[in-house]
């Protein structure tokens, strides 16, 4: 299949893709006669080309433990299409009518207030690019080889342009009392998901988001309203937000005690480990792709840090013996996906590809060995190890023990 732009499939040499496209019923525009068929008329809401097959991957289709992973290898730039944003919800996706939805803010405030969606949209708005990453992302990466492809290894992370109101503005409306130190957010899902946020953090860059990538937040992402705590573990960005209680202490909710805490070798567990540390991963070439023949490739990937901006990404093609600086391509927003790329000529030999991110605090993405040395083997969350992909002589790309 020859196209003006090298397609993802051409890059990957995925078997079967070319055959599938030549048979696809939507391929009728490619006629050879002199009379050409007219194309489709405008549509209410456009969809990806039928030749594209990017999909989220779901572990458990039932509601019991539902999550789905973003196909990071398919993405360009820094924005995750809203329909491919990863999902994690504990009691299913509720259907909420925005006309009847309310956000109540109460507790240690001068005047409790109830906001309609219309109220919130009238307020001063901000639009910001931020990643959201589940702190259980890369849980399979505690083993040396890790997951076989980047959707499984890193796909519980996505990045959107979020639009909404700064929580600080809303807290100004209600007036926070002097003895307040936390807020407790609550969702309108069946399980009333709840998390506590330190007030200092809530007054910083926390948003109440109703927009995602130019349209309303998707149902799986909290429609019509979600909390967004930039740079922090995803579960604290409570979706379907219905209530904020300003409080004198954290509620010690189940999801900040029993879950999302990090057990250390001495039996103590770190709590409120909210920030997602700097991380990067190569998305092309990555696991389960295939390089069709030696020659030029661009190593591409994503880097992000919950503490600020990405200042540097290095790439290694020899398993970490030598590193070269990758180019940062496009915008470099704080607490957002940052795209990197690095030219590479594949000589047809075996190579171990790795990337290593540094953020503007000077923090350098660690190896798995360094994480295990610091935390032992009983932690589940916050795995930001350097990930290695093995390119074999056959051109096949697999997970690799770094």
């Amino acid at each position: 299949m020859s196209k003006q732009r090298p397609s993802r499939r051409a890059f990957l040499g995925l078997a079967g893709a070319a055959a599938a496209s030549s048979l696809h019923p939507a391929a009728r525009a490619q006629t050879t006669g002199e009379i050409r068929d007219l194309g489709d008329t405008p549509s209410d809401y456009g969809r990806p080309s039928p030749f594209e097959d990017s999909k989220r991957w779901s572990r458990a289709p039932d509601a019991t433990a539902s999550s789905s992973n973003t196909p990071l290898a398919d993405l360009e730039g820094i924005v995750t299409p809203s329909g491919l944003h990863f999902e994690r919800h504990h009691t299913g996706v509720p259907a909420i009518d925005p006309d009847t939805h309310r956000l109540t803010i109460h507790g240690l405030v001068d005047r409790p207030l109830v906001f309609t969606m219309d109220d919130l949209v009238r307020m001063s708005s901000v639009s910001r690019f931020h990643f959201i990453e589940c702190s259980g992302n890369s849980a399979r990466e505690w083993s040396p080889a890790g997951a076989p492809n980047v959707q499984l290894s890193h796909g519980l992370a996505s990045c959107s342009e979020w639009t909404g109101v700064l929580l600080a503005d809303l807290l100004d409306e209600v007036g926070v009392k002097a003895d307040a130190s936390w807020i407790v957010a609550e969702g309108a899902d069946a399980g009333l998901m709840s998390r506590s946020v330190p007030l200092e953090r809530a007054l910083d860059d926390v948003m109440i988001a109703y927009g995602q990538n130019g349209e309303a937040v998707r149902p799986e992402q909290g429609y019509p309203l979600r909390l967004l705590v930039p740079g922090c573990e995803g579960s604290i960005s409570v979706k379907w937000l219905r209530r904020i209680e300003v409080a004198h202490m954290p509620s010690m909710a189940r999801d900040e005690t029993s879950k999302y805490t990090d057990l250390l070798p001495d039996g103590k567990a770190r709590q409120f480990t909210l920030v997602m540390d700097a991380k990067s991963v190569i998305t092309r070439p990555s696991g389960e792709q295939k390089l069709d023949r030696p020659g030029f490739f661009e190593i591409r990937g994503l880097a992000w840090s919950g503490r600020g901006t990405i200042s540097r990404v290095e790439v290694s093609t020899d398993g970490g013996r030598s590193w070269t600086d990758a180019e940062i391509e496009g915008p470099r927003h704080a607490k957002a996906f940052t795209r990197f790329r690095s030219p590479w000529r594949w000589d047809g030999g075996r190579h171990l590809l790795m990337s290593r991110a540094t953020d503007d605090t000077g923090y350098v993405q660690p190896t798995l060995a360094a994480l295990l040395e610091a935390r032992g083997r009983s932690t589940i969350y916050h795995n930001n190890r350097i990930k290695a992909w093995e390119v074999r002589e056959s051109g096949e790309v697999t997970n690799a023990e770094a």
Binding site: T64, T91, R102, T104, I105, H106, P112, L113, V114, F115, D119, L120, R122, M123, S124, D172, E173, V174, V176, V184, E186, A190, G191, L192, M193, S194, L199, E200, L203, R242, R243, E245, A247, M249, S251, M252, A253, R254, T257, S258, L263, P265, D266, G267, K268, A269, R270, Q271, F272, T273, L274, V275, D277, Y363, V364, P366, A370, E373, A374, S378
Partner: protein, 178 residues
């Protein structure tokens, strides 16, 4: 908390000899709820007992509630089945094979009350009344050896329950790698 310094409604700022009148950033949007509306909006239960409603439950009452609503997923004796084990696992946290249960891991008994009220039973959250929640919490804490057979839990006694892993948590001290 810099934004709170913007109150009262007018602040006079002297900058380079020029006087600015900075209006409050309040928009006046949103409406003040009635007491009834606020009561219906929901609540949070805190470790010090704030938010806990009236009502009470005993271990034996809780045994019946547990068998009816919880045992099918969590096992007859809360040992875990399709859903998580709720008891056992003490002294396992340093073993390399930690078993994190309510008994072995959860630092506050109030969290159990709050979580059951929010999210359990899984298929019908919200279906237990306050007495039933106190009771099933009492039963689970008794199964875990945290309270005695004759325990009665209510808004006074529940926050006073000392969980075995109460001192098991530390604050975030990352970054922890070089």
């Amino acid at each position: 908390m810099p934004r709170r310094s913007w109150r009262p409604t007018f602040a006079l700022l002297f900058v380079s000899g020029v006087v600015f009148a900075a209006e409050s950033e309040r928009t006046g949007l949103g409406s003040e709820p009635t007491a009834e509306e606020l009561g219906a909006a929901g609540y949070t239960v805190f470790p010090d007992g704030k938010g806990l409603p009236a009502g009470s439950g005993t271990v034996s009452e809780g045994r019946a509630v547990y068998q009816q609503f919880c045992a099918a997923c969590h096992g007859k004796n809360a040992e875990g089945d399709e859903a998580a084990a709720l008891v056992g696992g003490r002294d396992s946290l340093t073993s390399g094979r930690p078993r994190k249960t309510v008994e072995s891991y959860w630092p506050y008994a109030t969290t159990l009350w709050d979580y059951i009220r929010r999210s359990m039973p899984y298929e019908s959250p919200g279906s237990l009344n306050d007495d039933e929640i106190y009771a099933v919490v009492a039963h689970l804490l008794h199964l875990g050896g945290v309270v005695g057979e004759d325990a009665v839990l209510d808004q006074e006694s529940l926050p006073r329950v000392e969980m075995p892993n109460r001192e098991g948590f530390v604050s975030d001290d990352r970054p922890d790698t070089d």
